[in-house]
């Protein structure tokens, strides 16, 4: 009887450990994460200094990420506390940033590129249509939009595996970022994301 009780306790510990870990990983980039508006980054990503939880989070959601000197990754999965949804339209306003080049990519909740007939997964500093003053606007939506439409839709993985509240997220990559990002990642200029409407 005692053996069964101990075995049950061990199994329960294992199950609860997995539950805590999944919850911890799902909550973001860990204690060292930096918030900049709705965007979140972690300055230790890829680094040998990264903590246990950050390394686990990166292993699941950002494997083979580089250190910040090579590229910085800002992730956005909610706007003003509201998770990104497929039935909403988002407007991303931006300009140029102090980096060698940048890109904004939409990923499904499964961390892979979102299937879409247009095969458009991202915009970067070269292929984006700009206003005469250099600024640009991206519309993120499932429904077709005018210029700079970043289509989103259901992720490729089966929906029963979904654990997160958001349907997709946006990842801003800044390659060889300038000092502002390396030294002040919480206040350096980033694109602004606005929830425009939901159906």
């Amino acid at each position: 009887m005692k053996v069964i009780r101990v075995l049950a306790a061990v199994l329960l510990i294992l199950a609860l450990s997995i539950f805590f870990l999944v919850r911890n990983i799902g909550s973001g980039l860990g204690a060292m994460s930096v918030q900049n508006g709705n965007w979140v980054t972690n300055v230790s990503t890829g680094s040998t200094d990264a903590g246990i939880m950050l390394k686990a989070t990166i292993a699941i959601g950002g494997l083979l990420a580089s250190t910040r000197e090579n590229s910085m990754y800002y992730r956005l999965n909610s706007v003003d506390g509201q998770a990104l949804r497929l039935n909403c339209r988002y407007r991303v306003d931006g300009n140029d940033y102090d980096a060698d080049w940048w890109s904004i990519t939409a990923y499904g909740w499964d961390n892979f590129l979102i299937p879409n007939p247009q095969k458009r997964y991202s915009f970067n500093n070269e292929n984006i249509l700009r206003s005469p003053d250099g600024s640009w606007v991206i519309y993120v939506a499932a429904e077709e939009q005018a210029a700079n439409w970043l289509p989103v839709g259901p992720s490729g993985a089966p929906s029963w595996r979904k654990r997160s509240g958001h349907n997709f997220d946006l990842l801003l990559r800044l390659y060889t970022p300038g000092k502002a990002y390396l030294e002040r990642p919480h206040s350096a200029p980033l694109p602004r994301v606005i929830l425009e409407s939901c159906s």
Binding site: S17, F20, K55, A59, T105, N124
Partner: protein, 173 residues
């Protein structure tokens, strides 16, 4: 009272247990990547991946704006020589050990601009080798196994980037 003690003990062990699992997870994920990669490509050779799209599901969050070349390495048989042509656009060579750490890397940006147009030659040695026994650019891997990843900008004129990757090489030194 005894039941309460059991519950508290289980919760405490589970709370601590998540950190043990988190410690093991990066190695586990890299092992899967290492073995799956070994089925798809030979170890210690450069594999150029097709441009990422929705069907690219080997590694999470692939960038559609980059071309990737990977060399899954095992230094048990000795060092590797990695040669890579450096294009004008963004290029980087990053090294990852089996716990996902990006332990070394180089690029052609900022103060490394001088690499553009050159052939980078890196000798990758194992943790027990002596770097002083080798000349040129030497990188010491903290683990016997790992992954080297070449990233080349795919935006704009893609042909030059692809050519640079195709002229790159990873193999025994």
């Amino acid at each position: 009272m005894k039941f309460l003690k059991w519950c508290l003990g289980i919760l405490l062990c589970a709370y601590l247990g998540q950190y043990l699992l988190a410690l093991a997870l990066p190695n586990l994920v890299m092992e899967v990547l290492y073995h799956r990669g070994g089925v798809k490509q030979a170890y210690n050779t450069l594999y150029i991946k097709p441009r990422a799209d929705e069907a690219s599901r080997e590694v999470v969050r692939p960038s559609p704006d980059l071309f990737y070349g990977s060399c899954i390495y095992n230094l048990a048989e000795g060092p590797l020589l990695i040669e890579a042509k450096v294009p004008e656009r963004y290029w980087s060579m990053q090294f990852y050990q089996m716990n996902t750490d990006n332990y070394a890397g180089m690029s052609n940006r900022r103060d490394e601009h001088y690499r553009i147009g050159t052939f980078v030659k890196v000798t990758l040695i194992g943790p027990d080798s002596n770097p002083e026994d080798y000349s040129g650019d030497v990188i010491q891997s903290p683990s016997q196994r790992g992954i080297m990843l070449l990233r080349v900008s795919a935006i704009g004129e893609a042909a030059a980037a692809l050519t640079a990757l195709e002229q790159s090489h990873c193999g025994p030194a």
